[in-house]
Amino acid sequence: MEGRDSLHREASQEPVLRAKGLKKAYGKTLAVDGVDLEVYPGEAFGLVGPDGAGKTTTIKMLVGLIKPDSGSVAIQGQDLHENLKAIKPVLGYMSQEFTLYPTLSVAENLRFFARAYRVPDAEERERTNDLLAFSRLGPFRSRYAGRLSGGMKKKLALSCALIHTPKVLFLDEPTTGVDPVSRQDFWLLLYELLAQGVAILVSTPYMDEAERCNRVALMHEGRLLTTDTPRALCNASTSKIFELRGERASEAFFRLHQAQTSERAELYGRKLSVRVEDGQQGLKEELERIAEEKRLEVTQVPLLLEDRFVEILEAKGHKKRPMPPGGLPFRQREKGKPCIEVEGLYKYFGDFAAVDGISFEVAQGEVFGFLGPNGAGKSTTISMLIGLLHASRGHMNVSGVDMLKTPEMVKGRIGYMSQIFSLYGDLTVMENIELYAGIYGVTGGMFQARKRWVLGMTGLERFERQMTRSLSMGYKQRLALGCALMHDPEIVFLDEPTAGVDPVSRREFFDLIAAMAEKGITVFVTTHYMDEAERCERIALMYSGKIITMGTPDTLKAAKEVPKIVEVHPEDPIAAYNALSKDGWEGGIHLFGERLHVSLDEAKGRDEQSLRRDLERFRIRTIEMNAAKPTMEDVFVAFILQYERAKNQGSSETFP
C-alpha cells in the first residue's frame, strides 16, 4: 500500500533533486559520508537525525553553499556546480539561524530579496501581498524583523525564501526552538506549497515532526541509514511495542533492569514501554508476569519512527548501555513529601509580569516537567527556584528553604544542568569531575565512590584523560549530569537536557533520570521538546507568565480541551487537503505524509459526521479512516489556543 504512491511517482515524474555519493570532510572528521537521495515535486522529504549527524552540511552541499569533496548534485537534471548561476533562482533556502536583517522591517526584508531575485515590480506587489496574507504577517509589515517573535521570524524567513517562487525548497531545522503553535502554523504553510507542487527538503531533530513528511531519511554520523515513507519504515520493523501502564510502572522498570533486560524498556512517567522483538517469547511472557504482579495494564501500541530509528542504530551496534550495576552512591530519600512549594509567585521587570502569579507543588522523587514556548517565563521561574533571581512577591519554598528570605541557603541542596554545555571543554573528563567535587566539597571515600559511579554511568572509564570538548553530545550530556549530581542534591534542575542528542543516547539519559527519581531525587525538567515532556510524571504548561494547565501526560491528552483527531488516508492526499482546507476545515487539516490528521472541533460544528459528509461532498475516496491519539504537541496547541481565545475573544491576529 505504502509503496504504491512512490511507484506511481517514479513512472510519471523525474526527481527534481538527485544527489549521488556526497562526501565532505572537515579535517579528519567525515561530516557527510556518501549521501544519495532523490526528492520529487510536491514531496516533503525529511532529513532526520541528531545534532552533528551531518544534516546541515548535506543541505549546504545540496544548495551549492559548500562544495562537496566528491559526489554530485543535480537539480532538474542539471549539474548544480556547473550551472550554479542558472539553477540558483530555482532554489529556495532557509538556514537554521535567523539570517534576515533585524533592523529592516518585514516589508523591507521582502523587498530586498525581491530585488535580489529581480522580481518585476507588479509581480513583486502581488507576491508580497500573497505571502503576507499566507504567513499572516500582514499586520506586522512595518515591524522590524528583529522584534518579531521566534515563530514569526521563521515565517518571515520562509516568505523571503519564497519571494521568487522556487521549485525546490530547502529548510534546515525550520522549527527548532519554535513553540508548538507556531510549528503547526509553519507546517500549514508548507502544505500549501506541497499542494502547488514545490519539492521540500526539511531537516529536523524531532521524530514526531518527521512523521509529517512523505518520505524520511534517517541520518546518523554522516550516513543515511535508511530512506522510505515513515509508515513503511515502521512496518519494516521486526519488533512490537508493549505498554505497561499503572502506578507501579517504575517498579516494573527496575525489575527488568535487575534481570538485565532493561535495554529495550523505556519509562515514561507512569508508563513502561518495552520493545519486544518477534520471536522473543521469553521476554513477552516475563512482561506479562511482571504486569500481573505490579497490577499493570498491558497493551500493544503502534511502533513509532523513533523506535525504528533506535532499532536500526542497535543493528549497527549503537546499543543502549545498561545502567551500571550497584545503583547510585546517593542517600535514599523518602519520596512523596512536598519538595518545591510555590504559591502566588510574581516576577516583574518594570511593568511587565514575566511570571504572573503561578502556583504549583512538586513532590520529593517526582519527575516534573515544565513546558512552554520561549518567552513564556520558564527561565525566569527556574532562575528564581535556584536562587539566581529574587521574586517580586509570593511564596516559594525549595527543599525546606524559604526562597524569599534566605535564597542562598538552597545552593548546596540543588543541582543544575543548563542547556548550554556547562563543563570546561579544555579540561579532561577527570579534571571536570574533580573540579565539581571541589566546588561542592565532596572528598574522601564519598568522592571515590561518586567518581567511579560517574565514570561508569557515562561509559568514560577508559577516557578519563580525554579532553571534554572532544566527546560526542551524548557523552557530554551524561558527564554534565554526573557533575551536577556530585554533591547528592535533593533536587536537580535540567534545562532541555537532551535537545539535539541521538535517540539512543537520549534513552540512556532518561534511564539515569528514572534511577535518580527512584533514589528520591526530584527531577525538574524544563523543555519544549515533546519527547522529554512525555517522560515526566507530571507536567505544567506555562504560557505568557501563567501556568495554563497541569497534570500527567495521559490526563492532559484526554482533557476535553484537546480536540479529537481523525486520521484519514485518502487516495489523493493533496486533492483532499486542497478541498477540505479551503472549505470548512481551514487550519484543521494537517498532512502526515500520505495521511491527513483532521482536528474535530464541536464548537465550529466540526464533528466526525460532518467530516464524513464533506469527504463525500468532495468525492474524496478514502482507503482508511480511524481515530488517532493526540500528541503532546496537540495538547500544547489546544491549551494555548483556548487560553488566547478566552483572553481576547474574536481577535485572531494577536496570535501569529
Binding site: 539561524e97 534576515l100 536583517y101 533592523t103 529592516l104 530586498f112 530579496f113 535580489a116 523571503c160
Partner: protein, 383 residues
C-alpha cells in the same frame, strides 16, 4: 544594467538596505562620526610639539647679583618655568629623578669671580633626556638665553672699559622667514595630518565589520543563494561606507578650520576630490581584512592593530617618512595614509595645486587598483 559582474539593480538594492541599517543603528553613527571628532579634539588639544614652560630648578652656589641676573634671564623666558631653588646639587638630582623638573641649572661658586676676572665661567645644565626631542629643544633654548646674556655682559664690559660698543653688536644676523606656518604653530601641522590619519583606521574598520557582520549572522548565505554576484554585493556595501566616511571627512575639515582655526589655504574641491580617492583606498583595506576574518571581534581588532598604529607612526604624521629606517619606508607603502598626509598638509597649509601632488595622486591610484584587485580576488575565492 550590468557592467561585467556588476549589476546596477543589485548594487542599489544592497546599498539601499545598508543605508537603512546604518540609519537605524545609533551605535554605528557614534562609531563612524562621533569617535573621529573625539579623536580630532583629543589629538588637537593633547599633542603639541612646541616646548614651553619647561619645569626648571637651580642651585646657585655663587649668590651674587650677577648670578641672580643670569637666572632672571631664564625665569623671564616663556620657555622656562623656574619651579624651585634647590639647596644642593643632590636635591636637584632628586627633583630630576622624580620627574618634577626637566632642567636643572648649577651655578658654581666661582661664577661671578671668574666672569669679573675676565675668565670663562662654566654653568652646568642637567637635561632630562627621556624625551630626546624635548631635550634637544631645551638645549637650543638654553643656548639662546645664554647667548643673549653673554651679549649683554659683553656690552656692559665694553662700556665700563670706556669703549664704545660697536654699532652692530652682532656682525651677522639670522633673519628667519618661516613659510606656510608663519607662527610655527604645531596645530597647523597636526590638524591636517589628522584628516589623513583618523581616516586611515575608521573606514576600514567599518567596512570590515559591514561584511563580516553578515558572515557572522549567516545572512551572507542568503546572498550567495541569490543571483547577486559577490562583486555587486561588495560594491553595494562600499557605497554607504564611503558616503559615511566622506561625511566624516567634511565634518573634520570644518571643525579643523573653524574651531581650531587652521586656515584652509588650498582648493577645497581638490582636497575633497582626492579625499574620496583616499577614503576608497582605506575602505579597500577593510575589504581585504574582511575577506580573511570570520567574526566581528576579529575583524575589529585586526583592523585596529593593522591601521591605528601605522596611521600615526608610518604615515609621516609624526615623523617624516624619510627619517624612518629603510625597511619601514617600504612598510609605509602598505598604508595609503602616507600619500594623503602629504596631500592634506600640502593643500591645507601650503595651498598647493594638483600638479605638485602628482606623485601622491599616482600613488593613491596605484594603491587603489592593487588593493581592490587583491580584495576582489580573495573575496571571490572565499565567497
Amino acid at each position: 544594467m550590468r557592467v561585467g559582474p556588476f549589476e546596477l539593480e543589485h548594487i542599489l538594492a544592497v546599498a539601499n538596505k545598508e543605508f537603512r541599517e546604518i540609519y537605524r543603528d545609533p551605535r554605528y553613527i557614534a562609531f563612524a562620526l562621533v569617535l573621529p571628532i573625539v579623536l580630532l579634539f583629543l589629538y588637537g588639544y593633547a599633542i603639541t610639539m612646541d616646548v614651553q614652560n619647561l619645569l626648571t630648578a637651580y642651585v646657585n652656589f655663587d649668590k651674587t647679583t650677577l648670578s641672580a641676573r643670569y637666572m632672571d634671564r631664564f625665569a623671564s623666558s616663556r620657555y622656562f618655568q623656574v619651579a624651585k631653588e634647590a639647596r644642593s646639587r643632590k636635591e636637584l638630582e632628586e627633583l630630576m629623578e622624580r620627574s618634577e623638573i626637566r632642567l636643572g641649572i648649577v651655578i658654581p661658586a666661582d661664577f661671578s669671580r671668574k666672569l669679573y676676572g675676565g675668565k670663562r665661567a662654566e654653568v652646568e645644565f642637567l637635561v632630562d633626556g627621556t624625551w630626546p626631542n624635548m631635550a634637544n629643544l631645551a638645549i637650543g633654548y638654553v643656548q639662546a638665553v645664554n647667548g643673549a646674556f653673554n651679549q649683554g655682559m659683553l656690552q656692559g664690559l665694553l662700556q665700563r672699559a670706556g669703549l664704545m660698543a660697536p654699532k652692530s653688536p652682532e656682525p651677522i644676523v639670522v633673519e628667519p622667514r618661516v613659510w606656510f606656518n608663519e607662527d610655527l604653530d604645531s596645530l597647523n601641522f597636526i590638524i591636517p595630518g589628522l584628516y589623513a590619519a583618523i581616516f586611515m583606521s575608521f573606514p576600514p574598520i567599518l567596512c570590515a565589520l559591514a561584511i563580516v557582520r553578515e558572515k557572522e549572522a549567516g545572512s551572507i548565505e542568503q546572498i550567495y543563494m541569490s543571483p547577486i554576484s559577490s562583486e555587486s554585493f561588495i560594491l553595494g556595501k562600499l557605497i554607504p561606507q564611503l558616503t559615511i566616511a566622506f561625511t566624516g571627512l567634511v565634518l573634520l575639515a570644518l571643525l579643523g578650520t573653524f574651531w581650531f582655526g587652521v586656515q584652509f589655504k588650498g582648493d577645497p574641491l581638490l582636497f575633497f576630490g582626492l579625499g574620496v580617492l583616499y577614503l576608497s583606498t582605506t575602505c579597500g583595506f577593510g575589504l581585504l581584512v574582511s575577506s580573511v576574518t570570520r567574526t566581528q571581534v576579529a575583524a575589529m581588532i585586526g583592523t585596529m592593530i593593522l591601521t591605528m598604529i601605522p596611521a600615526f607612526l608610518f604615515s609621516g604624521f609624526f615623523f617624516p617618512i624619510s627619517n624612518l629606517a629603510k625597511q619601514f619606508i617600504l612598510y609605509s607603502y602598505l598604508f595609503s595614509g602616507r600619500f594623503f598626509v602629504v596631500i592634506s598638509r600640502g593643500i591645507v597649509i601650503k595651498g598647493v595645486h594638483l600638479e605638485t601632488l602628482y606623485p601622491q595622486v599616482f600613488g593613491l591610484l596605484i594603491y587603489a587598483a592593487a588593493i581592490y584587485a587583491i580584495s576582489f580576488f580573495v573575496l571571490r575565492k572565499r565567497l
